[in-house]
């Protein structure tokens, strides 16, 4: 076993042994310091290791891409150890001023490549460690959040690294697009959003007005830009690696392959520095209004938002990218370990992050007649950047030389949340099992449309599709006074792809939490959506967590 894994495992075990027992007192100095945290082990077990590449991406369909069974010998496809500590420090607390320092630090290590020697051999250690196994993808990744939170009168100023939640609905993001997301290890629905979102350094200001509707004005300004982190090549949720099976083009000492890594590096090279030109500006008004409809009072929580930002994904100058990809393919077909990859710098600027704007609105209210809460969210993306292509040829170069184009995109999400009374509640057998008298359900509908023509924009997934429609479903219950909480989440896309994810959480005591679940994907055409590519990625997962 790898020495690092052994050391980390020993350290975790030691901490666990020390912490088990009495609940820790985690508030100090009359609440001026509050600390909480967790130690977690998250393992995923792949149901079957595919022996062929099933339409993962355009490029991966190439025969040179190895099926998973050629480079993976273990079904343990993820083994993530995580330690996180959150702190709240009240630095100043008087009638005029409140200054808090809020922190959320975390460390993680993904050890499945160490435990599967085949996978381990596939990757080159330094790249693997930096970009996938540890939280060193960026220098400050160990700081999930750290910001000063300053209150004075109606003003609230937050300065530092933060994660923003602007969404009212679950499972699908409509307006909530301040922070990019990290999908290297898991998917939304299994991991909470604050684990998936990437913190950004920013200034965020609120003004709590006394205007009708108790309007709260919020603005965000950031010069930090991070790209979306897609699953790592060769990892369970990622693409299969090319030939040969290792890839270390960064050091240019090993042979071809690793097209995803290559593209990642190209994106990193295109990644703007911490400059004024990659500013992110966002503004939101939040209100709370009471309106009467059919003589029934409704308290509406509503928001209006505006975001001006660089896209989290890059678009390509196809004329530069095409020769690079060609040379990369030649190199890959060569398949010699010492083969040298084409150097990114020789091809000029291939990728660029372009700016777009978003207008958004949301509303949520309790509706007595349907005994539930309705939430709605709407977004209008102005000038979302895309690669331009000839009609019917998503990989072709446009004749007019305009390699990048823009489209507007409009989307909405609508959810209904309710607690449904369970049959048999209040009877003896029901009570003796400690069953919850009600179950929470959420039904959702999400739709989006591209405006303008869709056959001249290259989309990796869903090419030539103007619209997308998803239905979501969630049900949550409780057994033995919520000692066991079964939850089922499901998503269905009208193009006949989706997933079902049942999970049971077990909370036996004050600190330990266990979670056992699985996710079953299906897709008629995995090219319809990135999520649909999970078709062959069904898995069972187990989490054990110690909370303090």
């Amino acid at each position: 076993m790898n020495k690092n894994v052994f050391l980390l495992g020993s350290a975790l075990l030691l901490v666990l042994v020390l912490l088990v027992g009495e609940a820790l007192a985690l508030e100090y100095l009359d609440g001026r310091i509050r600390v909480k945290g967790r130690i977690e082990q998250f393992a995923m077990w792949g149901w079957h290791i595919p022996d062929q590449n099933i339409g993962r991406t355009i490029t991966e369909n190439a025969p040179s891409f190895r099926p998973e069974s050629r480079y993976r010998s273990s079904h343990l496809v993820l083994n993530l150890s995580l330690a996180a500590v959150e702190g709240l420090f009240k630095l100043v607390d008087n009638e005029k001023l409140l200054v808090n320092l809020q922190t959320y630090f975390r460390y993680y290590y993904e050890s499945s490549p160490d435990l599967d020697s085949t996978v381990h051999r596939m990757w080159k250690k330094d790249y693997l460690h930096r970009a996938y196994q540890t939280n060193r993808f960026k220098q400050d990744d160990w700081v999930n959040e750290a910001f000063f939170d300053i209150y004075s009168g109606p003003w609230n100023l937050r300065i530092g690294k933060q994660i923003i939640f602007w969404s009212e609905v679950e499972m699908v993001r409509t307006v909530d697009k301040i922070n990019p997301i990290d999908m290297r290890y898991s998917t939304p629905g299994i991991e909470p959003w604050d684990e998936i979102k990437i913190g950004l350094w920013m200034i965020r200001a609120f003004y709590n007005s006394q205007l009708p509707g108790n309007l709260i004005f919020e603005t965000i300004f950031s010069l930090d830009h991070q790209r979306t982190r897609t699953p790592f090549e060769g990892s369970w949720m990622g693409l299969g690696p090319g030939t040969p099976i290792y890839a270390n083009h960064r050091h240019n000492s090993m042979g071809p392959g690793g097209i995803k890594q290559t593209n990642d590096d190209a994106w990193d090279d295109a990644h703007p520095a911490f400059t004024w030109s990659n500013f992110k500006f966002a503004f939101r008004i939040r209100g709370n209004s009471e309106v009467f409809m059919f003589k029934t009072p409704y308290v509406l929580d509503w928001t209006l938002s505006y975001i001006n930002t660089l896209d989290d994904s890059a678009v390509a100058y196809s004329d530069k990218l095409a020769p690079f990809n060609g040379d990369l393919a030649v190199a890959r077909v060569g398949g010699v370990p010492s083969w040298r990859l084409p150097r990114l710098g020789d091809y000029g600027r291939m990728w660029v992050f372009r700016r777009y704007e978003l207008l958004g609105a949301s509303i949520q209210t309790f509706v007595p007649s349907i005994k539930g809460v309705l939430r709605a969210e709407w977004s209008y993306e102005i000038g979302r950047p895309y690669n331009h292509c000839p009609k019917g040829e998503p990989d072709g170069l446009p004749e007019d030389g305009n390699y990048i184009t823009e489209r507007d995109h409009v989307a909405y999400g609508l959810t209904y949340d309710a607690a449904i009374p369970m049959p048999g509640r209040g009877t003896n057998w029901f009570t003796s099992w400690g069953l919850r008298p009600a179950a929470d359900i959420t039904l959702g509908l999400f739709q989006g449309w591209h405006l303008g023509d869709v056959d001249h924009i290259r989309q990796e997934f869903g090419y030539n599709q103007r619209s997308e429609t998803n239905f979501t479903f969630m049900i949550r219950h409780g057994i033995r006074h919520n000692e066991f909480i079964p939850v089922i989440r499901a998503l269905y896309n009208v193009n006949n792809w989706g997933y079902v994810a049942p999970v049971v959480q077990y909370m036996p005591g004050k600190h330990f939490r266990y979670e056992l679940g699985c996710t079953w994907f299906w897709a008629k055409n995995p090219r319809d959506s990135f999520e649909a590519t999970g078709e062959t990625r069904d898995f069972t997962y187990f989490k054990v967590r110690y909370e303090f």
Partner: protein, 428 residues
Amino acid sequence: MRSNTIRIATVLFFLLVNTLAVYAQEVKFPTFSYEGEELAKVKEWEKTWVGQKVTAANLDQVKDLLLEPLCTIMKNPKDFGADEVWFEVFPYRPYKVSKGLIESTKQYAPQAKFDESKSLVNYGSIAGIPFPQPDLSDPVLAGTQMAWNYDAYTHGDSTYCFNGPATIVDCRTGLERSAGQWRWSMYWAGRSDVPPKPELPKNDRGIHRSYFQRHSAPPDFADTGVLEIKYKDTKRDCDLWVYTAMFRRIRRYTTSQRTDMIDGTDLIYDDNYGWYTHINLNTYKFIGQQDLLLWRHQEDPHKKLTRKNGQGIWNGIQRERVKCWVIEAVNKDPNYLYSKRVWYLDPENWQMDAQIIYDRQGKLWKIMEWGWEEFPGHEGQLSTQYNAEYYIDLIRRHGSVAPYSTKKVGENFPTKQFSIANLQQQTY
């Protein structure tokens, strides 16, 4: 001479009748649990019992003064995770009812009346106990009047306290989970102790009571915040917002399903503090008065109340005699979770001292009791505040126990305390 005598007698007769009529209209409040001869008898009984520790061994001697499920628990302590369940007898002490509550009651009680659905007319615009002398000639009317009396007691109009460290206990397996909440509650209407009375001036939305809560435990719930608004309009559902720390979002929640369990405790939303929503959702019937040993004054619950791991009820409860009103509450919803509740209301301030709940098949399901302390509020006026509680599910043998620490009473919290913006500011 004779005619003069007749005249004088006639005048005296009318004077007497008028005096009696005026006396009959005068509002008598508070009414103490024991007075005169009854009090003397209680004092006599106390000579034997005060300071005594009551255990399963001597339980039978006082079983007539105890609620039946409590006797069951004390006789079968192992079923509830205990080696022994015991309490101590303390002398009866009448409550020092606040000047504001007395004045409000005397001012508004004569105006109190029901509409055709037995809802209190001008609810929230009047204060104090509306029916200090319930009409016992009609059990339904009396029970309904008592329920509205319970609802009218505002416990000093506002409270800031900590409920914890609370424990959710599976008595069968000994498994325990922790809970804890900081709680702020304030009455916007029906106020009796703290000016402005009886209602805050800027209350356009017709709020009756607001409630704000920040969780401190369990760790995965720490910093989750809850904001609940109850309205004067008794036909209107409460509004509920929850800031979920784990997901960092403020979300509206439905309150229409009030029979749902609260976070794995033995409570449903309606059970909070005995009954936490509109009074007119139940029908009531007066059962009678019962002399009981209840938990009216509890000294320092953090030190005096004890229990072993896995025990779902406190040891060391300080009980005193009280002659409480007993009413039965049946929900108007035929599919309601419980077939009935039995409320034990304190005769002096109409707080709920205990409650027993039956499942839909009529089987005894839960018992819940609250320990109280008298805490100074506005201008030093005393009101009773929760200082400990236990809830026992007798069927599943599961319990929830918690002490309280009251911090402030009778303070007009800024209304922004009960705002959505504050859900995030008060939490992480």
